[in-house]
Assembly symmetry: C2
Homo-oligomer: 340 residues x 2
């Protein structure tokens, strides 16, 4: 029997500020040659890198492997529901080969068969038809509960979640104000996604932009950024305006560890209280029972040409750290993904 060698990326030290290549190490792992009942051997085809992976919450010293999902193909199987050749989406971390038992995952957020994408790329399972897509959909529908005619602000709008959130907002009849970090992404939002009110926070003053384009304030704020950006936005929230707190990418690289010192952010208590702002944190994975329905909804919107997914693809398993770092540099348009 041949020996099965898996490659995996581990975080070899705690992140300090912006992740860098030296934080990562590619190591080999010899997998068991024989599967137990219920187990499958999968090989990654597409892997996801996402901002949340920076969080220490997901990087305990006990588990140095970088976390995340992949689209993989079953190569050996001792599970009758997953014969060889089955495509799955599995949250097994940055690994090229993995032995796992599908029944041990909290289903379906962390493990599911690739649904019928009707010809769309399998890789979308990690983007518009996966966690980022459902995050955008559930954030808009279940958290913000947007109504037609409302003003929706989306930041990190050129990214995997933000670009889908903008498009769903438009479909719901909202006026969408999008912020992103480069002229290139701003142009893409305007031209490809039809988000007319797209701005570059590196050159457009956030406060002045909102005073001009949302003089009566913002109803809904889909926040991927947090920190100083949100401090500025808060002053423009309408009374009873709602914030869906999805992420805080502006802060992820600020502190080395939540354990040693808390992150400090600017916060405007007066406005929050005076304007009766409502802020709600959420994770798409809470909505487990609706996970596959969300994907089907998004798939059909893409097939109907109502949502345009976009990917930035890095080549090779070896490129994972670079691809990950690229997100924090704002180098991606749409979903940053790695093709093995």
């Amino acid at each position: 029997m041949e020996e099965i060698i898996a490659k995996k990326w581990i975080r070899q030290r705690e992140f300090q500020g912006m992740p860098c290549l030296e934080d990562f190490e590619l190591v080999n792992e010899t997998l068991s040659e024989s599967l137990k009942d219920g187990e499958i051997l999968i090989e990654a085809e597409w892997l996801s890198v996402d901002p949340f992976m920076r969080g220490n919450l997901f990087n305990s010293p006990d588990s140095p492997i970088m976390p995340g999902s992949q689209v993989a193909s079953v190569k050996r199987s001792k599970h009758q529901d997953y014969p060889v050749g089955t495509k799955v989406v599995a949250y097994v971390g940055w690994r090229d080969r993995t032995i796992c038992n599908p029944d041990t995952f909290p289903q379906p957020v962390f493990f599911h068969k690739l649904p019928d994408f009707k010809g769309l790329s399998d890789s979308y399972a990690l983007g518009a038809l996966g966690l980022p897509g459902n995050t955008a959909l559930f954030g808009i529908e279940k958290v913000l509960k947007v109504k037609q005619g409302g003003i929706l602000l989306v930041n990190s709008a050129g990214g995997a979640v933000g670009s889908i959130a903008c498009q769903i907002g438009l479909l719901k009849g909202c006026e969408v104000i999008a912020f992103t970090g480069s002229q290139e992404k701003t142009s893409w939002l305007k031209q490809a996604l039809n988000v007319k009110l797209a701005f570059n926070y590196n050159s457009d003053d956030i406060g002045e932009t909102l005073t001009e384009h949302a003089p009566n304030g913002i109803d809904y704020y889909f926040d991927n950024v947090g920190g100083d950006f949100s401090y500025k936005v808060l002053k423009h929230m309408k009374p009873h305006g709602k914030v869906a707190l999805c992420g805080a990418i502006s802060t992820y690289n600020q502190s080395s560890s939540e354990k040693t010192e808390p992150l400090l952010i600017p916060f405007d208590y007066w406005t929050f209280i005076y304007n009766h702002v409502i802020m709600e944190g959420f994770r798409a994975s809470e909505y487990e029972s609706e996970w596959l329905d969300g994907i089907t909804t998004l798939r059909d919107l893409i097939l109907d040409g109502k949502i345009l997914p976009n990917e930035t693809i890095a080549k090779g398993f070896e490129a994972m750290p670079e691809a990950f770092i690229n997100i924090f540099k704002g180098g991606n348009i749409g979903k940053q993904i790695v093709k093995v």
Copy 2:
């Protein structure tokens, strides 16, 4: 016609950190000798000092008079609805005599006739039967919407709002966990208000206390304090736990002016997102149409012996700055008030 001299307390410079006596100046103002149609002359009998008065929001350079409400008696009148002798509650600031036109106030939050208190002290109009009481009531009923059996955390629980919030929480069938800043107040909460789980944040570790007494987490958090206190509490919120953000007294004395630099607070994005925390800012004054109903509800609860109001009374209009500073030192039990 005699000359009418009013005394008023003005803030003679911007607060820097904790307010001190030198920040205030007592000045005389000569009032018009003749009232215009619709005007009344009122004389303060009881005056309120509240933490929110520290805020620069309410202290613009254009209006250096300290803001706030008083119970006053009509001394002269050119308004048929307010004959001489009428008792009113008026948001006219730290003044002993005032000429005003009742019809120019946003009613009834900022001006109303003293309701029939059925023998209870007029001064309650500034505490349990006024802004603090309605803040507690509306915060619990309209923002937190507490349910029987839920775990409610109240901080600044020895103060005007917190002490009423604890009691309403108990009446609603919640398990109430109260934090205050002294052993004296903790004992008072236990003995007088029957809040069995009362703790002193100066001697009891917040995290350890919550781990022990709310091992499954907190459902409802009535927050008067903000800042570091809330950072610690947040880690103990149940999934979908709700925060009613009422005030942030821990931060009021930290920055001299929101205009020059934003206040920094510790904030735990991961927990907020992961536990789907919902935070809602509110002011009691939003619920204008229910203002007097709230007061009636609270009055009847007091008359039935179900809510015990408490006051710390300073004597004399001259004592207002001291009484105000006393709040920030935690010197009051229940509502801090000034009797002219």
